[in-house]
């Protein structure tokens, strides 16, 4: 049975991981397991000149560490992520692959000098987690502005979209899920 493995990468605020696990399980109709037992050291991916972590390296490390896991892997961290050409990323995923990572750093209102908002933060984290996992199921960005697979490169865009898949993406997701189910 396929499942989603939720891996925390420190630094990470202790809250919200269990709530996230529950809501992801609803979205994907799959069991979500939070794995707190392993600690992935993000230090090798750290770039001191940028004060950020190279997300692609973290993805490779995840894949090595959980190579025996059958389903999808989603890492969650508070660390600020980047890929070399871009100034930052909210997350990264292997398209039609196994692993994804999301950073909560830029989802927090306090990052922008605003008062914290726990509900908003939780919602944004859910949307980005669903979005990156969506990529691992082969979904690409969607034109529907309120679909969770809509590309968002700013928090305002994340707030605009919902945490749900539009009907087209939902259908594609269901098809991939069925294929995966029959394969296993």
């Amino acid at each position: 049975m396929a499942s989603i493995l939720l891996v925390p990468i420190r630094p990470l605020q202790p809250a919200s991981l269990s709530a996230l696990a529950l809501r992801l399980s609803e979205r994907f109709q799959l069991p979500v397991v939070a794995d707190g037992s392993h600690h992935l050291d993000p230090a090798p991916a750290f770039d001191s000149s940028r004060n950020q972590y190279y997300s692609s390296l973290l993805l490779s490390a995840l894949l090595r560490m959980f190579s025996r896991h059958e389903g999808k892997i989603l890492a969650v961290t508070d660390a600020d992520l980047y890929i070399p050409v871009l100034t930052y990323v909210f997350g990264e995923a292997q398209l039609d692959g196994k692993a994804a990572i999301v950073s909560s750093r830029r989802l927090d209102e306090r990052f922008y000098g605003l008062p914290g908002n726990a509900d908003l933060f939780e919602n944004r984290l859910l949307k980005e987690a669903v979005h990156e996992l969506g990529h691992t199921f082969g979904l690409v960005h969607c034109r529907q502005y309120d679909c969770v697979m809509h590309s968002s490169t700013a928090v305002e865009e994340i707030d605009l979209k919902s945490s749900e898949f539009c009907t087209d993406c939902a259908r594609l997701l269901k098809r991939t899920n069925n294929e995966t189910a029959t394969e296993i």
């Binding site: 940028r50 890929i83 070399p84 871009l86 590309s151």
Partner: protein
């Protein structure tokens, strides 16, 4: 951002750094783009063949040929490519140079993802707009409004009826008729009333293009296919994708081209001259000829199989002399058209001039009529066109006798001589070699009246 079912936009990333190529291509693939990468200029030029690329992201600093030089080369291969330069802070000056040489924009590494994503979307939007613009312009410049078809004669009504009924189908149409009868106009009416109307109708005058060029004109050519083929060029069949292709004077093409034409029409597949890639195009064929194709088939000058392939539904346009009742409304139409175009207040045609126009034999059909009116509009003193404004050829074409009897011929001859001499009786009598009294008698006998 493309949706799942839209045509996928394509992106070529040229950068010598693996991490840049790798991360950018992954990032754009998630956007649903078709992405290809190249590590240097040579590889990029090789990949250009897999194009066309909607957007090329180009690193300005690379070992070997740099981004600036590569930009020039890429523009040579595909002048419509949209190039976005990637630079480090140190090379902003050369990025400005790149902009001057036609790059769409530049970004500095590392780039804000929000900025990059909007930049690429804008570039794609602009590209599709300019593409659409070119297509619309071509369309407008050649599109004649169907209201230019003037004529209430039963023959023309039948033609219009046939054209509009065949328009809805995808049937190949052959339009026959003398030069100047409006074959292309009918082809356009068929196209604009067909489901293909939002796509172009591409007209090729097979008779006007030299035989040696017709092949590349119709099928396009690859760069270097022959001397002077500096750029890749799309052929008319490729341009007519989803639209119609109008092959004018199809009877003039050589036997060799006939074979190729037959194959394309049957398979809808072809290759560009000098190319190997098979190109598919969905077009509807409308062709026209003023030749006697049946005779040409008999003589072996026109392939029989092609003839049957083209001659599915035939519309024959009557020559103007067989529908003289259409001449007055046509004249009115052209007078209105040229009075607007020339800003000249000529609004009517003198009855005697109209009479001449109606009786002329019009070997050049409607085109000739239009030219005659245009010329007359230049000469005419507002507000009326008179007989003297009509060109010599028309005046010379005098009415011919209604019958073979001597009397009929005499009557017509007297009318002509009187007209030529502006009803000057003395001059006319002297030309006819009779005296004035006799002429008066004959005028009375035949009931002739001064116009």
């Amino acid at each position: 951002m493309p949706s799942h079912n839209q045509h996928r936009a394509s992106l070529l990333i040229v950068d010598d750094e693996f991490v840049v190529r790798d991360s950018l291509s992954k990032w754009f693939r998630q956007d649903g783009y078709r992405v290809e990468t190249a590590e240097d200029a040579a590889a990029a030029l090789r990949v250009m063949d897999k194009g066309p690329w909607d957007i090329v992201l180009l690193d300005i600093k690379m070992p070997g040929m740099g981004g600036l030089e590569l930009q020039k080369r890429i523009k040579e291969i595909d002048p419509t490519s949209t190039i976005v330069m990637i630079t480090a802070f140190a090379s902003v000056e050369s990025a400005v140079q790149a902009l001057k040489e036609g790059a769409f924009d530049y970004v500095t590494k590392p780039v804000d993802p929000d900025h990059l994503s909007h930049l690429v979307q804008n570039a794609l939007r602009q590209k599709s707009l300019s593409h659409e613009n070119i297509r619309l312009r071509e369309h407008i410049s050649t599109l004649l409004m169907p209201d230019e078809i003037v004529g209430d004669s039963p023959q023309m009504k039948k033609v219009i009826e046939m054209a509009s009924s065949v328009a809805q189908t995808d049937t190949t149409v052959m339009i026959r008729g003398e030069s100047g009868t409006g074959k292309e106009l009918i082809a356009r009416i068929i196209h604009v009333n067909s489901p293909r109307k939002f796509f172009p109708i591409i007209a090729v005058n097979c008779g006007a293009v030299p035989e040696s060029l017709l092949e590349s004109e119709l099928f396009g050519h690859e760069k270097g296919a022959f001397t002077g083929a500096q750029y890749k060029r799309k052929g008319k069949f490729e341009l007519a994708d989803d639209g119609s292709i109008f092959l004018d004077e199809v009877g003039t093409i050589s036997p060799r081209m006939q074979v190729q034409l037959l194959r394309v029409i049957e398979s809808k597949h072809f290759t560009r001259v000098g190319g190997t890639e098979s190109i598919k195009s969905d077009f509807r064929v409308i062709c026209a000829t003023n030749r006697d194709l049946e005779q040409a088939v008999k003589e072996g000058a026109f392939r029989e199989d092609l003839y049957y392939r083209l001659n599915v539904f035939t519309i024959s346009l009557p020559p103007l002399r067989e529908r003289r009742s259409d001449i007055p409304p046509l004249v009115q139409n052209f007078v209105r058209k040229y009075s607007q175009a020339m800003n000249k207040a000529v609004t009517s045609v003198d009855p005697s001039a109209l009479d001449l126009l109606i009786r002329y034999s019009w070997p050049g059909n409607v085109r000739e009529l239009e030219n005659v009116i245009e010329r007359a509009m230049v000469l005419a003193a507002p507000p009326t066109i008179k007989s003297c404004d009509l060109p010599f050829q028309v005046l010379q074409s005098e009415p011919t006798a209604d019958g073979d009897s001597l009397e009929a011929i005499e009557r017509t001859h007297i009318i002509n001589i009187l007209a030529r001499n502006a009803w000057n009786i003395t001059q006319s009598a002297s030309v006819l070699g009779i005296d004035r009294v006799t002429l008066y008698n004959k005028i009375a006998k035949y009931g002739l009246k001064r116009p």
